[in-house]
Each structure stands twice: as C-alpha cells, then as structure tokens.
Amino acid sequence: MVMCMWMYILETVLYPGLVFTLLGIIFTNWYVRKVKAHMQNRIGPLYTGPFGLLQPIADLIKLFSKEDIVVSGYPARAPAFFLTLAMGSLVALLLMTPIAPYPLQAPYDIYIALYLLVWPTVAIAIAGYLTPSPFTIVGTARVLSLTLAYELGFVLSVLVPVVLASRYLGAEYSLYTTCTRAWMLWTKPLPAILLAISLLTAILSLQCKTMMKPFDIPEAETEIVAGPFTEYSGPKYALILMLHDQELFVGALLLSQLYFGGPIPLINNPLLAAVVTFVEYLAITLVVTWIHASTPRYRVEQALNWFWKYLLPLSALALVVSMVV
C-alpha cells in the first residue's frame, strides 16, 4: 500500500504528472510557434537553444521575473489559485490515460475525465472576471458564450468512442479501457465512420477550447485588446500562457489515445509505442495549428451559429447512431 502511494505521488509529480506536463507545455509552445512561422514564411524561434527549443523557457523566465501587478481593490491571489487548480486538473486527467504506468481507472470514470476538462475554461472565466475592465468583461462573456457551444460538442464527440467501445468491446464507459480498445473499431465500417465524424468534431471543438483561430474570439486583439487577459502581466500572464499550451498538449494527447490507442497497439515495444504516441500528438497539434494559421477570425455569433447548426447536430447524430446501432 505504501509502495502504491509512493508510485501514485511519483506519477502525479513526475510522469505523466507535473514535470512531464511542463515539458509538454514548453514543447507545444515551441512547436505551434515554429509551424505557424513556417506557414507565414518566417523562421520562428531559432537562437535560444537548439532550433530555438529553449525560447518558451526564456519567455516564461522573463514573465516570471516581472512585477506581479494587480489593480488595487481586486483579489491578488485568487486568479493564480484558480489557474493552478486548472493546471492540476489537466495533470490529474493524464493519470487516467494509458501513458500512465499505473493508470487510475474505474467503470464510468469518463464523467470524471469530462469534469476535469472543463476546469481550464472555468479558471479563465474566473480570472477574467476578477479584473476591472470592460475588455475583460466582454472577453469573459465571449468565453462563457462559446463554452455553451464547444464544450457540449466536445463532450458529445468524446462520448462516441466511449459508447462504441463499451457496446462492442465491454469498455464499461471507462476512459482508460476505451483508450485500450476503441482503436480496434477502425476496422469495422460503421464504427469507423462514426469515429471519423466524432474525431473531426472533437478536433474542431479543441480548436475553440484552446481559443485558436477561427475561434480566438474571446481574445480578439483588434477588438478587445486581450479579452479576459487584458489586465494581466508578469507571473500571472505566464500562468495563463502555460494553461493555454497545457490545454492543447493534454487535449491532443487525449484524442490521440482515445481514437488511436496511443501506446496500446504497440505496447510490447515501449520505445516504438512512445514514438507512435508522440507522432499522433504531433499530427493532431499540426492540424489545430494549421487551421489556426490559415483562417481568419469568426465573429461571436458566427461561431455560435456554426457550432449550433453544424458541429453540434453532427456530433449528436454520431453519438445517437453509436447508441442505437
């Protein structure tokens, strides 16, 4: 029991917990900037470390070394508290997936995974609400408005492989068991179509969840400066940037494991399994960055219409079909 407890703490702190996630944040930040730069005929981070890999660390050191300015009369510590809590929720989520050496799993734990995924949005909304500015209020209103659209789409999409794996392969609505079995369904025609539809809608919902174009409406710099983050600078802004990259990192890693099994199909060869999982994560992040770098921004009602009229019905249809056939 004591051994189990130590393993559990080590998982939380080291792998796939906090340290692994921090490395993932740094790499994701570098990768997104590099891909985006190349798509825009630029070089991107280059001089700090090999291939500019250490540039995100330099940026974080710069932000953390600045003064922590908070408008007088407003809470100084609450934003950091909620932002770190959201980061903790995403760390906990990775402990429930196959990349964890001793994964946490139970029947019907998918509901807990979905709950953990909502925390970053809640933290960003609270952080925005805790500063006095019309821009932050408008930005936070946009975050909350979009949440009602994309969060539901993301949940419906993610439930499709869970339902399919539970009905066909006895996954018991568990995130871990779904990850270990859902990838086998790509060989069956109808489940493969449903998985493809839900993967598409999940990636587009992730695009909106991470506030990347065309859904960067809450932080539209030409309209509302930086939306919920307008009043933040220094260490708190560093936490916001880290949470943003962590959301993309964990989201891409989660989708790669949910739909393609992550390391599971090649579990007998751990090194190859790790490489394949990494490539799947890179591919999903590449798609998100590609859309981000090549599309203009929607207006808020355009994005809402797009989600309510097209993405939500599509993901709901996929879920209903996966429940009845």
């Binding site: 998982e11 408008v71 508290f81 770190t84 980061m87 903790g88 006095p132 209020i137 909350l144």
Partner: protein
Amino acid sequence: MNLLMLILYVATSMVLASAIMYVVYRVVSRSERPSPEKTKVYACGEDYTPERASASDINLYTAVWRLSFRNLYKYIREKGHTGVLSDWFFWMYLFMIIALVVLYLVSVTLW
C-alpha cells in the same frame, strides 16, 4: 478500483499538482509590492475608480442569452442570485441532480 476511490485519487492528484504549481508561482514571483501608481486604473490619463472601469457582470451572459435563452436566464438570475447562499446552493444542486438523472437515463438506455 471503484469509482469513489478513483474520485478521491484524482482529486488528490489535482490538488497536489495545483499546490506545487502555486508554491512555484509564489516562490518565483517577485516579492516586493509594485508602487501604488502602477496599481491604479489608468484611463487615458484620467482618474477612474475600478467600479467605473468595469462593465456590469450581467453582461457576462448577454451574448448567448440575448440570442436564445434570455427569459430562462432572467428567471434563474432572479431566483438564484438573491445574495442568500442557500438559494445559490439550491440551484447548483438542482443542476447537479438534473445532470445525474440524465446520466442515469443514458446509462440505463445504453445498458
């Protein structure tokens, strides 16, 4: 592992990771307080109170509710935001019960 134990483990790791990050944030951040001039609301050189610079929190919900569920929002806001904590808890628990009933119905249907 049963679901209750899983919730305890997940919540503990969430709190543990958050606590470490928060401590790192506090340790790394500069400890000296910024001058009062930097913490005042700046509005193009004019003196503004934070209250004047803020929009109403009712505006948080308008973008989506104005388009679709305005009457429902007004009803819930008036009933739930009375300033009495038990009213707020009642609405939160009501939402949780609705969610649990939906999840139960989905689970039963799928079973």
